[in-house]
């Protein structure tokens, strides 16, 4: 039996044995049958890498999954609170591994090459451990607040837009150290913005972000999504998921080319129409004769209720 056939039969019959066992038998086949120069074997099967995968599975006890090809690898790292953090790795060649994606905010760890899986795991374990406060803060926010944006929040998104009332959201960014930053309101309301201005002075970084928000805005609990029930669907874990409202201009929720979801941008309380910032800005500029407005702030009247409205080109 030639080598290719042997490996094929091994792979076909291998579905009922575990990955380490399979890798072991693969290794024995390869070492027995192949005795060409090192460079050639390296191109065909990287024994060192198979060894590396085996070690990770059996000694580190980290689950390893393969994707479409054996070059796409997923490992799951558990942190001290048993949160699962998947890492997607790509095998580029012998001693050349890169991270294709992680469900964490971008870090320099993603921009370099690694020589072994073990090296990646060690680096990320450390990284994940350093983010423990970050995870905790986001988890608390996600648990108690209605998150308007991101639509499906993960640890990759280091910001949350929290529903305060139908027309006002609070934007909070969380630093890797777990501190709140760039806190501001989305939507216009004197009441909420006065509370925020005063509250920011007494913000206590020793307390949880969620606690601070409750103190600043004098909340006992956070409002639940108050959208029409028809747009509220329930996902598997029984947490109501709110679909973003449609933009009154393009009639869409999310546009592929422009980021962001429709926001309650009109300051007139009875007007409940949401707009994409970009759509509203373009309309106000078109009404003003198409010239770019001074200071990037376009003014005019709301296309839904006709009350005066202003809109910046960019968020915050």
């Amino acid at each position: 039996m030639d080598l290719v056939e042997e490996i094929e039969s091994l792979l076909q019959n291998g579905s009922n044995c575990s990955l380490p066992v399979l890798l072991d038998s693969l290794k024995s086949v390869v070492t027995q049958k192949i005795c060409t120069t090192e460079t050639v074997t390296a191109d065909l099967i990287d024994l060192e890498f198979l060894e590396d995968v085996k070690n990770i599975i059996s000694y580190e006890n980290i689950p390893v999954f393969f994707g479409k090809t054996l070059r796409d690898i997923k490992c799951i790292i558990l942190d001290e609170r048993l949160r699962e953090h998947p890492i997607f790795i790509m095998y580029k060649g012998p001693k050349k591994l890169i991270i294709s994606s992680v469900v964490l905010p971008h870090s320099p760890l993603q921009d370099r090459e690694y020589t072994s899986l073990e090296e990646i795991i060690t680096a990320f374990k450390k990284h994940v451990d350093s983010l423990s406060t970050y995870f905790h803060e986001l988890e608390r926010i996600d648990r108690f607040c209605t998150i308007m944006e991101p639509v499906e929040p993960t640890f990759k998104d280091d910001y949350r837009r929290i529903l305060l009332d139908d027309r006002i959201w609070l934007h909070v960014e969380v630093t890797p150290e777990g501190l709140a930053s760039n806190i501001h309101l989305v939507g216009q309301s004197e009441l909420w913005s006065n509370k925020l201005q005063q509250g920011l002075l007494s913000w206590d970084h020793d307390k949880e972000i969620i606690e601070n928000i409750m103190t600043v805005f004098d909340l006992v609990n956070f409002p639940a999504g108050s959208r029409k029930s028809s747009t509220t669907t329930t996902i598997s874990d029984d947490r109501p998921m709110i679909e973003p409202s449609l933009c009154g201009i393009c009639l869409c929720a999310e546009l592929p080319e422009s980021p962001g979801i429709p926001l309650p941008l009109c300051p007139n309380p009875p007007c409940g129409v949401y707009f994409h910032r970009n759509c509203l800005f373009q309309w106000l500029v078109a009404c003003g004769g198409g010239r770019p407005p001074p200071f990037g702030v376009a003014t005019g009247s709301c296309p839904a209720c006709l009350e005066s409205i202003a809109c910046c080109e960019r968020d915050d």
Binding site: I249, C250, C252, L255, E257, W283, A286
Partner: protein
Amino acid sequence: MIAGARMARLAREVKNFETKPPWGISCQPEKEDCYDVLTVTLLGPKGSPYEKGTFKLTINIPEKYPFEPPLVKFTTPVYHPNIDKGGRICMDMLKMPPKGGWLPTITLETLLVSLQTLLANPNPDDPLMMDVANEYKYDIDTFLENARKHTEKHAVGTG
């Protein structure tokens, strides 16, 4: 970004006409999946001299839609103070502000329903056809008679 928003919005609007069409209005793209030109069939409103008629229109969607109003024109001749012989329509909603009342929140559906309303309720104070407007103002019976005959001749049984 305009191109994507325009396409997405038009696709949604045209689909809405299929799934829940307003009374007496149908609207389809002239060529499938190209939303630059739409053709509309509009039934004359009940209780008006146009009620037996079926009117055809074309809508040209400008590049900058919905930041500019669509260009709407009757292809079936209409006897009406606000619609001229070439099918052009004098309606506030179809003009860009500050002179006109176009808003990007107006959908094709709203627009066509308003057009149906305009058929039933002419606005003789902002006329496109002076003589027809005067007839409507000062000799309503003749106007109704003429409009009915005109509809019968051009908009009934013409498919």
